[in-house]
Structure formats: structure tokens, C-alpha cells
Symmetry: D2
Subunit: 257 residues, 4 copies
């Protein structure tokens, strides 16, 4: 585990980056997944595949953050942390393009829609209000940063987003296009909210997506299971679902081409 | 029921439109909803509220279309048709801004991502392939058009979209902004796919959304219920859910201001 | 000249399309251009290069259309028609991806910002008002369609756009991504308005753009020259500029790889 | 002059913000402008009008920055600094919503298209390369920050953008919508590149824009003049142009309603 905490990265990106040119052009796969062996085109390469880790922030899975303030059981959103840490440890040396997202707002709330603010205050977890981990969902606060277990390392990109989806009002699509990314592997929280919104928006743009079932969690277990199930409808309406073990098995099998 | 079929509208919009200036500035509400009385700001006006009806197309709820070709039970996606027709009959005279969406692709598939095409073919319902209601999910085909029960009338806007979300690669946001819309009421199919993706993207943009539980349906009843439940998390993470009866009760009670 | 008029295409696309798979993978170039030999990466292939023809509509270069109604000299906007027709005749057989755009609004003006409407009426060329070529800038009218000299042929994509830029509120980016396009060659009118806005937005997205100086024109000759000059600042701030002769010379020289 | 330098603000926003609710609802106008008295709807209010100041960075108008490295005459891009400082001094107390943009890239260049990078290196001003004011166009460097004369004060929003346009890959539209902004006043550099791209994209979205002729400049005087002229075509194709004196005269005349 090489993560060393918040001081490692600037608010907008880890630096210096691993040059994209170091990514290997080996291809792996397919991965045993539902409803089809992933990806649709048979194999995936580190050079064109991004691992997007959604909102592994204290606010969503740590003590004193937003989800904790709302009274949800943290063990549900924390369940995927260890598998995700293992996944990153295995994929980092292979040159996959690793991205992390953080939901959060400007300290002056200039980017926070009034209904989002109102709803959060109504349930006692007001955005911008003080909490044990700092002002809730505010950039720069302790609760807003990514937890230690899956903290970004040098060369990984961080996307700060004001909404649930990672494409809206961010440079994510530009970053993906600049790196020639065509395939996306998703981890993160919460499954039914930010992970799903991001997966849906990525899928509409043509990215081939895989959601790792054990590397994600939700504030409600039924919603977690339903979110996985929704992906599998209509032949894989948003992509496919696999365990991280299945993905790592394919990678361990070595390049296919 | 004034709908008279496809010949009424051009492929891109019903014409001529009811001028926006005829919309009433009366305000209604609130609506008994979960997890909070909708809307967050207490009331909603026809002049600033859009009713967006998602993908009530033969391809998703009619015989010989896409969902039928995939083998799903059509009664699930058709369940919301009658409540939606009743809703439209009640709201049309009041000046609400009524929008309809249609998922579909260009006949040459220039806008169809290859993975979406591949998945559809894999399950025997290939986009662009011939089916009883015409080429599946292709603009201009019978199966692609909106079913008679909720067919657009003059002055209503139709949004043609290539994806699941209604904001991506369309002029929906421009149309909403041009009309000063701030509140959105959603009906349509399927709850967990196109309706939810649209609601999520609208919510990230700050629109205050209400999903009508009886005016929507999915290809799987569990997913339908879960999709409704997901909205209610975190104090209404994507907005609120109500029955159409609750909405119509508020409207019948008359203007509040 | 293979164009046969409006009846050839549907409102949204020509059908059936030439499959993308017929595009050649030959590479041509570089083209003698300013301020650098285009493209930056040395060569361009029909399979990954789009020729985007902007707004060659009667409304912008024909009698009885929008620009005519405003009183501008049509010879300025028509000047690029013949070179563009020659260009298309040369590039069509090689498998380049050819796109046409049309600026226009829904007949009910649902997508027309009120200030745009107001300005057009103030100068006596109101959007939606009757003119010799039909309602000004309205989809489906004669004046809105593309002129005969460069009319789309089967397999070419038409993008209908409500604004000056071709990316905003359209599916252009999706279409380009779906076809793996990385390079864009621009023709059309007017140089300083719709062509430039599209080139700027394409450039920000990372597309490598070439504007053909003799295949474009403006309502003011000084603005035309300045628009070409602006491209060349800062080492090619929006891309490069060349004559169509220079481009065709490179193509005639045959594949470089 | 209240600006106190870089330590005042975080990289993403000045904090804490002046609450939007302090903005006055007085309306001013119209402003003597070309080609029509601005705005089209007769008057503008601080509560719904944003002043967007484009890229007043050392990289574009200071010694040792990007434009200096390219060898352009800095007096051209600096010409608008004093009028802009005077403008801000006059408008700040009235509650206008003041926004500043900065063009720049992530330190690892993850958001820098390869052609943009290549062009900059070709002319000896490579993005990310060391220069007297730090790495060229890189976030966090001295050259990237806003110059002292027009430095943001508390409560003003800063938009960091990777491209020439301010809407692409940023949260600008979300911020404008959240604050109910409908009118935009533009200052900044350079007129023909980042200011014009932003004005064009704002105009397509329906914002009513005014460009202040003495509060902007370009690396070429001919391009500066042409950029102003282009706005005035077609009855104000992108909005209107006025001097800051004309604007301040309207404001000094007091509220009209």
C-alpha cells in the first residue's frame, strides 16, 4: 500500500503522472461476467481501459462523514474497500489508467443546486454544515477526501464532481478521450447512486463498462442487489457485472494477444 | 382522447406549438410524496413545470417491438399507460409544458455504439433488424413511434434520443431552458433504465423532479420497485415519488398562490 | 454530380448508409497548410477523418433565404460552393466520413432562445417568418435545406443543430466517436460564425482540424479573412488552414503508408 | 484595489462567498451598444447578470508567461486591464455575480490533447515546459494565476478550464444556472480566442451577452477589431459590443425599475 494521505496530491490531480506511453498494449480477457463474457469485443488492454473508482470518500464510507451523519450503516458502503484495494494493487503495475472521483462542492456552494442543499438539511446532514469530519461534502475538508485504503498514488487522475454522475460538469470525458480509453471498469460507492449514474452516462457515450460486484456497496442492501440486476437486463443494458476475482483471474491468465 | 396517430406530428416536433405565453402562472402543491412533500420549494406552476413522458413507444410496450422481441411480459411496461393518459388529459388544459421522448437510431446506425448493437443482436433483438413492427429501434419505423394511448398532441415537444438518458446528444436542456422550466414530472418506461437515467441527469442539473409511481413500469417488477426506492434514499437523492392520484389531488385543490 | 434533391434523405439522415467498414485505411499527407503542415501527426486516413460541411443551406447562400433577407451579398457566401463540390467529388470515392450540418429550428420555435428570435426580427429577417424560400430557418422548409451543388448523397450523415456550434444540443460528438473520427476537415458557411464556432468546439475536444480557405465564405469579406487568420495564431490555436487544392494534391499523391 | 494575491483563494474558488441573496434586484439599462442597445429585453439586474472575466492570467498578459514566450507584444493583451479593474470596482458593490476563468492544465497533462501540446512545443512555448513564470499553462504555477490588477476577491467564483471555451469540461453552466443567471458581461483575453469561444457557446445556450470593447485585447490588433466586428453581424449574431464607459453610464443612471 503506497498511499500516504492527502498531502500527496493537489486538489485536482496527482502529480507527476505516469506517462500514458508506459501502458502496456497486452490484451486480457474475456472476463466471466453477467450477462455476457466481458468485454463485448473479446479482450481489453491496459492502454485503453480505465479503472474508475467512484467516491471512496470519508463522506460516504467513513466515520463522521455525510453518510454517517444520515445514520446509515457504514459497513455496507465499506464492504468493497478491501477488494478494491486488492484490485488496485494487482492492476497498478500493469499500466491500467486509474481514475478516482470525489463528490463535493465549492466552499461557497456556488455549484450546489438549492434543492440538493435543502434535502440534505432536511435530514440533518446539510451540505456545508459542520460535522466531525469537517463541513459535509465540501472540497478540501477531511471528510471529502478519499479514504486511506484506496488512496490515489502518483500518476492517477482525480475528478472532482458536483453531481452524482462523473461526466456532468467535469473534464472526465476529455481525460478519457485524451488517453484513448474505450473500456471502463467501475468500483466505488454507492452502487445505486453515483456508480450507476456514471455507468449509465458512460454507456450512452459508447464506453464498454464492467461493474465489479464486490468492489461496490450501497446504503441499502436491496438497492445494491437491484442495481447489479438492472445492469443485466436487455442483454446488458449498461454493460456487465463480474466479481473482482473473475477479473483478476483473466488478468492472471496473461495476455491473449 | 385527442391523439390521432403518427400523421399528426413531424419527426421532430408537433406543430404548431401552443405559445409558452398561454401557460398559466398559477401555482399548485405541495404533492403528497416520498420522501418529502413535493416540490422542495412548496409549489409548482404550469409555466415552469414540464411533464416528460419517456419512451412510450411500441418498441418498449407494444406488440412486435423491441421489448416484445426480447421476450419480456408487455403487461409490465404497459401498466402505466392508462394512468398516464388520464394524467395528460387533466394537465393539458392547464398549460403544463408537455414533452415526449423516443429512443431510436438513425437508419444507418451512425449514432449506435457498436457494443449496444452487439448486445441487442446477441439476445435476438438486433437494433436495425426487421421485426413485426419494423426495424427495431429505428427512427421512422412503426415500432419506434409513440403508442396511441399517450400520443403527442399539437404543441407538445418530441425529443429523439440515441441513448437511455434524454439529455445526452439531444436539445432537451436547451428546450427546457428556453421555456424557463425548473420542475419536472416524469412518466414513462422503463423505470429503471431510461426514466431513471433521465431523472438522474435532470437532478444533477438542478431540476426538481417527481416520478409518478403508477405512470411507469419496467421489464422486471423487482427492478421497478427498487428504482422507486432508490429515489427515496438520502432524503430524496434524485427527487421524490408520488402517485398520479396524489398529483391530481393537489392540482384539483386549485392554485395556492 | 450525384445529388438529386430533398427527396433523397429523411429529415435526420441519408439512408442507407455506406458501412464504416468500407472506409479505406490508407493514410495521406501531409497537406501544405498554415501555420503548419497538416495534420500535426503527419498523415490522415479516410477511416478516421470526417469532412464536415457546415450549413450549405439556401438560408445562408440561396435566393429568398435568411441571409438574402438580411440584405447581404450572396456571392460572398456562395463563393465556396464550386470548390466544395469538387472536393466532395474527389473524396467521396475514397471512403472519407462525410457529414453535413443544417442550422434550423423546430417549427414551434421550442428550441429558439428568445434573444435570437428578437434579434432576427429586429433586422427584418425574423426566424419563423415567411420568406420566399419558406419560413426562415425552420426545419422542413425549402430555405432550410442544403443547396443542390453540395447536396448529401446516400450514406452521408446530416446533423440538425439549433445553434451556431455543431456540437451543442446535437449528436455530432456521439457520431464522431462511434466512427472513431480523430481528424476533421471543414467547409461551409459562414466562416466567422458557424464554421468557426464548430472548429473551436471541435478543437477543444482534441479533434485535429483543417479549414479549407476556398471552401468557405462569410457575409463580410474582412471577417472571412480575419477568421482564417485567427486560426493561425499561437502556432495554430484552432488547427490549420489550407486550400482545397493543397488537400487534393496530397490525396492525389497517394497513400503514404 | 482590494486584491491581495494568490493566497486569498483556493485553486477552485474564493471562499467564503457572498451569498447570492445579497444581490440587488434593481434593474439597469439599456446600454448604448452595437448593433443594438443592450440587452435585448431592455434592462439587466445584478441578481441575474454575471460578469465573466476571461483568462486574465500572467500566462496571457504577464512577463515570463505563455504569450510572452511566444513573442507577442504584451501591451496588446494588457490594454484592457485598467478598464476592467475600474469596471470591477464599480460593479462589485452592486451585487453582480463575478466570475473569473483560468485556462490551464493538470500538472500531468492528463487533460491536454496531444495536438495542443505539439503545437505549443513547435513554437517554443510548450505546455508544461519551464518558463520564467513557471511551467507554461499548468495549474498551480505563478504564470497560470490571475494578475494582481483584476485578482478575484472573496465571494467570486473561479472556473478552471482546459480549453478555449469556458463551458466545455467545466461547471460553468451549472454555476450560472444555480444562480439564475440570464445575462453575461464579458471582459478578458484574448478577444478572438477564449473570449470569443466563450461568448459563442454562451450565446448558443441563450445567455444574452455583452462584450466590453476596451476591457479585452488580442495578440493581434487586426484580430481584435475583427472579433468585435463579428459580433455585430446578422443583427448581433453573438450579442452586442459596448465600451465599459457606456455600461457604467447606464449603471450610474440608477435603477430603471
Amino acid at each position: 500500500m503506497t498511499a500516504t494521505g492527502p498531502e500527496l496530491t493537489s486538489p485536482t490531480t496527482a502529480t507527476p503522472a505516469t506517462p500514458a506511453s508506459t501502458a502496456t498494449h497486452a490484451r486480457f480477457g474475456p472476463v466471466e461476467a453477467e450477462p455476457y463474457p466481458w468485454p463485448y469485443d473479446g479482450s481489453f488492454a491496459p492502454a485503453t481501459t480505465a479503472v474508475i473508482n467512484i467516491d471512496w470518500q470519508t463522506d460516504f464510507c467513513g466515520k463522521g462523514g455525510y453518510v454517517d451523519a444520515m445514520g446509515y450503516d457504514l459497513s455496507l458502503t465499506r464492504a468493497g474497500l478491501e477488494p478494491t484495494a486488492n484490485l488496485l494493487a494487482a492492476l497498478r503495475p500493469l499500466g491500467f489508467f486509474i481514475i478516482h472521483t470525489r463528490e463535493g462542492h465549492r466552499p461557497d456552494l456556488a455549484d450546489c443546486p438549492p434543492n440538493k442543499l435543502w434535502r440534505s438539511k432536511r435530514i440533518g446532514a446539510g451540505i456545508g454544515d459542520p460535522a466531525p469530519a469537517g463541513r459535509i461534502l465540501i472540497r478540501g475538508e477531511i471528510g471529502w477526501d478519499i479514504v486511506e485504503e484506496v488512496y490515489p498514488v502518483e500518476g492517477e487522475v482525480i475528478i472532482d464532481k458536483p453531481g452524482k454522475g462523473s461526466f456532468y460538469a467535469t473534464d472526465l470525458d476529455l481525460v478519457l478521450q485524451t488517453h484513448g480509453i474505450t473500456h471502463i471498469i467501475l468500483t466505488g460507492i454507492t452502487t445505486d447512486v453515483c456508480v450507476h449514474t456514471t455507468m449509465r452516462d458512460a454507456n450512452d457515450r459508447g464506453y464498454e463498462c464492467l461493474l465489479l460486484s464486490d468492489c461496490t456497496g450501497a446504503t441499502d442492501h436491496g438497492n445494491y442487489r437491484a442495481a447489479l440486476n438492472m445492469v443485466k437486463m436487455q442483454g446488458g443494458v449498461f454493460g456487465a457485472v463480474a466479481s473482482s476475482e473473475a477479473l483478476l483471474t483473466s488478468v492472471a491468465a496473461g495476455p491473449v494477444a
